[in-house]
Symmetry: C2
Subunit: 664 residues, 2 copies
Amino acid sequence: MSKLSTAARRLVLGRPFRSDKLGSTLLPKRIALPVFASDAISSVAYAPEEIFLVLSIAGLSAYVMTPWIGLAVAFVMIVVVASYRQNVTAYPSGGGDYEIATTNLGPTAGLTVASALLVDYVLTVAVSVSAAMSNIGSAAPFVAEHKVLVAVAAILLLMAINLRGVRESGIAFAIPTYAFIVGIFGMLGLGLFRIFVLGDEVRAESADFTMHADHGDVLGLALVFLVARAFSSGCAALTGVEAISNGVPAFRKPKSRNAATTLLMLGGISVALLMGIIVLAEKTGVQIVEHPATQLTGAPEDYRQKTLVAQLAQAVFGEFHLGFVAITVATALILILAANTAFNGFPVLGSVLAQDSYLPRQLHTRGDRLAFSNGILFLAMAAIVFVVMFDAEVTTLIQLYIVGVFVSFTLSQTGMIRHWSRLLRTESDPAARRAMIRSRLVNTVGLVCTASVLVVVLVTKFLAGAWIAILAMAVLFSLMKLIHRHYAAVAQELAEVEDGLHEVVLPSRNHAVVLVSKLHMPTLRALAYARATRPDILEAISVSVDDGETRALVHQWEDSDISVPLKVIASPYREITRPVLGYVKRITKESPRTVVTVFIPEYVVGHWWEHILHNQSALRLKTRLLFEPNVMVTSVPWQLHSSQRRKTLEPQPAPGDTRRGFVD
Amino acid sequence: MSKLSTAARRLVLGRPFRSDKLGSTLLPKRIALPVFASDAISSVAYAPEEIFLVLSIAGLSAYVMTPWIGLAVAFVMIVVVASYRQNVTAYPSGGGDYEIATTNLGPTAGLTVASALLVDYVLTVAVSVSAAMSNIGSAAPFVAEHKVLVAVAAILLLMAINLRGVRESGIAFAIPTYAFIVGIFGMLGLGLFRIFVLGDEVRAESADFTMHADHGDVLGLALVFLVARAFSSGCAALTGVEAISNGVPAFRKPKSRNAATTLLMLGGISVALLMGIIVLAEKTGVQIVEHPATQLTGAPEDYRQKTLVAQLAQAVFGEFHLGFVAITVATALILILAANTAFNGFPVLGSVLAQDSYLPRQLHTRGDRLAFSNGILFLAMAAIVFVVMFDAEVTTLIQLYIVGVFVSFTLSQTGMIRHWSRLLRTESDPAARRAMIRSRLVNTVGLVCTASVLVVVLVTKFLAGAWIAILAMAVLFSLMKLIHRHYAAVAQELAEVEDGLHEVVLPSRNHAVVLVSKLHMPTLRALAYARATRPDILEAISVSVDDGETRALVHQWEDSDISVPLKVIASPYREITRPVLGYVKRITKESPRTVVTVFIPEYVVGHWWEHILHNQSALRLKTRLLFEPNVMVTSVPWQLHSSQRRKTLEPQPAPGDTRRGFVD
């Protein structure tokens, strides 16, 4: 091993590994929290509201359940956070749930987690942007009226920003996240202070309406089902908790400990915000229903239901309208930021999957803007489809959302239990064993908890939309499986010939053919370069698509002092590819051990539209020639002036740089 | 000259010029007529109807004008046919109006004609398909109800057929055209026989309704304007007449004479059909109005106005329903065929424009399915835009249609007058001079006539839609001008260095670099081929994106008996392009007269989706390396099994083959 690494080091060229330099750009906890937790924290903007909304089906009396459901969600949150603290310690490499499932449960489990996460990223964008628009819509009626349109525009904007590649900075993440945390805590503090200390009557605008149960009396099993469904929706607050486990490498040292601490902070903040909002909502008498027009009487004609957060802000700040606007804006901003984290996380996960041959390989190498761009386009388009399909309604979209999250949670906890059991088999130090057994216990509680939630979610939401998410997961799973199989087949094909490894014979002859259309500098350069490769035979060929032009070329050639012979190939149908191909085939057929090198002069241009105007015939010919055995194709470039503008290849920022510790 | 041609011939390789074989596939007149005239003949299916429709604005009394307007259109038709008989004799090369305008009036006039023709092709598709759907709709109410949808579907079908590439046959053109000609003549004959010989009362279904003028009394200038507009719409019968002048090379010898004769046949048939339809319409009392619901009383509640041809067929065949259906189907078929000729003519014109550097060069070479496909896609999409925009209403689309036709007619006649005048300046033989003066007179009458119609069309239709066509022409004109300017600039750039023509120095050294990712057969082949080019320096380089993989590679390399040294390039950011580029740059900087050849092993695959999974990094690297001076890029292909399915490169039929004399 050490012999190998020195051998490799001896040969290493180019710029040194930048690990030192990278170190200085790693994230302190105060920046890591907003970078990784905006998704999780932002979900308290809609999770409590969904609990109220589901319960409203059974009427106002069911609202008495909300604190208990809130506590149940908070309990699950605490258990999940505790479990993930084990995860980040055991798997600090940033592979997250995918790595844990793959390592401990095998590739099928890993791929299931990956499919779930990919679908989740799409839904994170759809849900977060829709929720953001609901909040802005609470302050700006125009947005509420054209919610779908504005949501689509917002997704397109995020897409454009990420396609363009913005150099990420921790500050850009920190401001909206801390503004939201401070804003909501401030609102809760002020509200509870006014109610309990000043004894003010703080009432929400919807407090005095009369609520009608949507389905009359809900009793017995139906009520249990409803409460379970409210709990499921409330569990949306847990989405995004796993993000930190994918970002451990970006933390400052000690990485795992800092990540675990950040997780704890995230959990604490989320639980406090969640419970605070529920309590304040109870005290201010907010009524949130699914169909305000039919379920609420006493509401004005043009009543438009505001979000829970907006109603609380309105009630707490009262005449101080700026407070209401600030809360609304901060909420919308953190939600947009959460959507943006999906644009960051998606390519990072894609890169990991590409390394394992589940996605096209080029996704693995960084700085591949084209591959990244395709991922971003896919994410944006898929999110837009969901937003349009479900009218940007958070309540509907959330039915699809959490199934993926809990599939991932459950498999990862199962994997962790296996992990600890495996370690315990060989560990003999009693202290280490005790720690492992404790960790395994935590993960077991986590598994029981997340698996139960998964079952509840499946039962209560399958028909309401979760089946769509599951279907999408299945499609992605199959697609990645097929890609993996293809790469394996190719590797197998290359391994088959491995036996003949040392039988590659040196070709006996190198026959160079230079393709000529006109006699100008690019052609002369191609001839000179071809001659520099000292081929056994060197000739120029020209395909005659225009009789007059060909004659002029032959004339010019004979008048010049070029010693290379020019052959003209007839092309009655004005084709280029086929006649050249036929000529090359004849050479390789006559002498099978000859390798033919076809030199193609190529114009190098600087604008994409110039590509349409040049080289198309050459490109097609090149593609076709590659199918012939014993043929090499050499491009001899001629740089046109316009190519200068493309000469500089600046390193461009890639989405997700911050999460991987690449920040300036 | 003869020295050159023998020099060229001496060098000619490959299959012999197929001119002999082509001769046997040239078109006899009976096939040339349907191939080139379906567009022109099919327009009598809608032109007379439009005359009635426009006049209906002034009420039934205005119908008395129709025979006179018909005669005026017939007169213009005869003049135009006579003029084009001069054109095909003087310019038998198939360049048509574009060539005549370019040669005699300069490139700007030529480009104007080209823009007009390109727009016309789009409108031919839109108008013909819409008219076809109106006719089918007269027999099948479902089609009438979903006209736009069915029209779009028909365009997509035509697009698919032409993208697929169907081997064209004269028969496919002949059947619908002759069926239409025979069918309409039969209908006219039977109708007039019943009326004038048997004395039957042959009445159209709309004959007994009461027509209300749309705008009350139309008098004075307004009436003149209306009649002029009806005449303009009737001139739609002339669209497509110019097609034969683009197809002279496909005729049998004597080409020009046969083309002229075919033109005469086309003119005779069109005039006879046009006048016959107008007379029969008068006799059967057909009433065609723009808004049947408001303009016709006495019509049943659910009255849906049939096309003029359908109403005539219904009246003439009466109870013999099959006759009505046959006429409707034949009319729809020839109209679809006319739309299809646009799909044929568009790439042919594109090829001519490409030769003159107004469109991307690759359009000039035949068998370029990609370029052809783009043209077909563009044509179909543009036609769909027009169909959707104008609800597949022939009456509205026709407002845009004929302005382009008459721009082309007028410029071509002007060019012909110049042509004869130029010839007359040098011709001294009195007989030849007389013939030329006569030809010039014909073209002068043609110019006066078509220019007048153009003015009438512009005055009566500009605001009604012609401005859209003119705008589209202007956009195409500018675009092609820009493309031409770009090619000229590149030619200029290459000419600038022409002085240094013989100064291309042989590179002093050839430094070969083989790119290695793994040690397998493709790599070994690349090494063997690279060695066959006997470079001065040969080395292998590998970019380290994954530490473990790199170590394994180095280990394997050291264990093998490969004598080529392997260098590893560090890539801290997991990039490939930049590190390789930096390495190559360093070589060329150190020794500027060295040419670097980068050998890239490439996988050759058989499915498009495999391309996504392979070679993407190589492709990007290749593209980027071309921007470096003194660098050649050589692809060393490795054919995977799947590439076998792409090995055969069958000659594929191209749209427009028949018009260029390529038929089996």
